[in-house]
Amino acid sequence: MSRTAIIVEKVLPHSAERIWRALTTQDLIAKWLMPNDFVPKVGHRFDFRTRPMGDWDGVVHCEVLACEPPRLLRYSWKGGSDSGLSKASRLDTDVTWTLTPVDGGTRVRMVHDGFMLPENSTAYEAMNPGWGRVLDRIAGVIAEAG
């Protein structure tokens, strides 16, 4: 299996300090992501809660893994049900936010890493032309070696 990450990156016209507050203040996080009991302290365990969907209870279990204001924030992101069929689709991943000051604002980079796929999933593209299109649709998903 190889690890695959989802990456979203954008330059926003705000200071790193301001963006950091939006990423690390409970009330503000709730406004753009999900209700939570986040505290910006390494080792703090917290949950994101949203509406249950299908087998999923709507809870993401997290722990703050790194917190270096105003540039680096990382938390684990575990979700899915432990019971029955949906166990296989349980997530054991982590989310990393990196803020870098640039001209005109701050580069915000979010990496959601740890999705496991069979080796060389992207190699199927060569075997099946249809795969190219499927993979194009998720252009932001970057497969990492190993």
């Binding site: 939006a22 296989a88 979010m110 499927v134």
Partner: protein, 108 residues
């Protein structure tokens, strides 16, 4: 429906031996069932069982030629996995937009 198929694919690939069989077929393009047994410590019945599971999950296709059965990767077999990633991708894009809007509004 899509979720059910994703679960089947993930469950099927959760077994390390079965995943190794799948990855080997992917690597070699097309493999005879007998060729899969050779050079491994997995027994013929076990390999047959893994191949059946992979076929039922829509991950491999078989082709019969006389007494031999050949296996190759099904073109859309991993599509549920790719879609699943796509959902997460869409989730973050949307939340990122929310974040951007929040920052913009709170400035005014």
């Amino acid at each position: 429906m899509a979720t059910a198929q994703l679960t089947v694919v993930l469950k099927t690939l959760a077994d390390p031996t079965r995943r190794a069989v799948f990855e080997r077929i992917a690597r070699e393009g097309e493999v005879a069932a007998t060729g899969l047994v050779r050079g491994t410590r997995v027994s013929q019945p076990a390999v047959s069982q893994h191949l059946r599971a992979l076929r039922e999950a829509g991950l491999v296709i078989e082709r019969r030629e006389g007494r031999h059965v050949h296996y190759r990767i099904a073109p859309k077999g991993l599509a549920p996995l790719i879609d699943w990633l796509g959902h997460h991708q869409a989730f973050w894009r949307e939340r990122f937009d929310n974040l951007e809007r929040l920052l913009k509004e709170s400035e005014e």
